[in-house]
């Protein structure tokens, strides 16, 4: 008992309870949070960097590497930041984490392998204004032309995380869908930044607009100062403000 006759455990809980990034992102399993991270304007120059002729599924050596398999239509992406020795990383992660998604694999080996930018470009400058390299695990774009889709699926992670993917809607025309089973569609508008949980619920994407959809995906240490601050703000907005 304390001097106020309140048990110490209760007193500490009352006095010290605050927001915790791990509890919000790992334990709550929220489907998404809208963040206020401001990456600034996305010009056509940025967009041209984000576009890709690479084949994302071949790059990651997915077992079904056809980008037009019946579950995926025209979905593609481009890597900007990640493990520098990508082949070594793929070999390691393929042996151990074959069920896990790209973000999860990159988180898994962050302390064991060297990570860096694959080229020096304006995307790097933009991201580094908010997130230092030391807090990045993976930066890539996702490209989905009009009519493209990814079937309902779930991703799996090694660290039991929920909210994980920083999802920047660089180009997002009317008619785009990012559905989360049982929660409706994520209310994305062009320029928005969301922290997305792609591990708990089945989800799917479809571009029903008449132009290309371009997303920047960032896997980062969510304790990074600006990210953490933005998560707390979003949490307060969603659960405290009237």
């Amino acid at each position: 008992m304390t001097k106020d006759r309140m048990p110490k455990l209760l007193q500490d809980a009352i006095e010290q309870n605050s927001y915790d990034v791990d509890v919000i992102t790992k334990n709550l399993k929220l489907p998404w949070l809208k963040l206020d991270l401001d990456f600034g304007e996305w010009t056509e120059e940025h967009v041209s960097f984000l576009q890709s002729n690479d084949d994302w599924r071949k790059k990651w050596k997915f077992p079904d590497s056809d980008k037009n398999s019946y579950q995926v239509k025209n979905w593609n992406g481009k890597l900007f930041f990640g493990p520098t020795d990508f082949d070594k990383f793929l070999k390691l992660s393929g042996q151990n984490e074959h069920d896990h998604d790209e973000d999860s694999k990159c988180r898994r080996y962050r302390d064991q392998l060297d990570y860096g930018w694959y080229s020096d470009n304006s995307i790097k400058t933009k991201i580094n204004k908010l997130i230092p390299d030391s807090d990045l695990n993976l930066v890539n774009s996702y490209i989905l032309p009009s009519g493209g889709y990814v079937f309902p699926h779930r991703d799996y992670a090694i660290d039991n995380i929920g909210l994980a993917k920083i999802y920047v809607a660089v180009r997002w025309g009317e008619g785009n869908v990012f559905g989360q089973y049982g929660c409706g569609n994520i209310p994305v508008k062009e320029g928005d930044v969301f922290l997305v949980n792609n591990y708990t619920l089945p989800h799917w994407v479809f571009n029903g607009s008449d132009r290309e959809r371009i997303v920047l995906d960032i896997s980062a240490n969510l304790h990074s100062d600006k990210i953490k601050e933005s998560i707390f703000k979003a949490f307060r907005k969603g659960f405290y403000e009237r």
Partner: protein, 138 residues
């Protein structure tokens, strides 16, 4: 609701015959070497798709393969492996066995004995698939 099943069969002279039924509907078909069956079924919210191989012939050794299953125009993909086959063993053969054979086989999409393949259905089908993803404990 539409059910589409892609079958394959092996036989010499005796084409396999299957009865395909749910709680409220039934269709009986002969199965060619390659055959796609399409039928309309009244499917209850909780139902079972049954495929009964009725004319297994030990001499001909006819066999039915279930290669693909679409319900309500949705490909059940790998969930087809959740189907379970309950064979009806020949009683004389069964008496001769010192160890009892399995009551059922799962996964099993190859019907080599007389018996019934059962696949549980909950409608709507899209939600049934989402719930399977949702409850996947990987």
């Amino acid at each position: 609701m539409k059910i589409e099943i892609k079958f394959r069969s092996i036989f010499k002279k005796i084409k396999p015959i299957c009865r395909i039924y749910t709680k409220n509907d039934s269709h009986t078909i002969e199965i060619d070497k390659q055959q796609t069956f399409i039928g309309q079924f009244d499917i209850a919210h909780k139902d079972t798709l049954n495929i009964e191989f009725t004319n297994k012939d030990g001499v001909d050794d006819n066999v039915v393969h279930i290669d693909e299953l679409h319900i309500d125009e949705i490909n059940l993909q790998h969930y087809i492996y959740e189907g379970e086959f309950f064979p009806e063993y020949d009683s004389k053969w069964l008496e001769q066995q010192t160890t009892a054979p399995p009551e059922s086989y799962k996964p099993c999409t190859e019907l080599r004995l007389k018996g019934i393949w059962k696949f549980s259905i909950i409608t709507p089908i899209w939600k049934m698939i989402m719930e399977k993803w949702l409850n996947d404990k990987r």
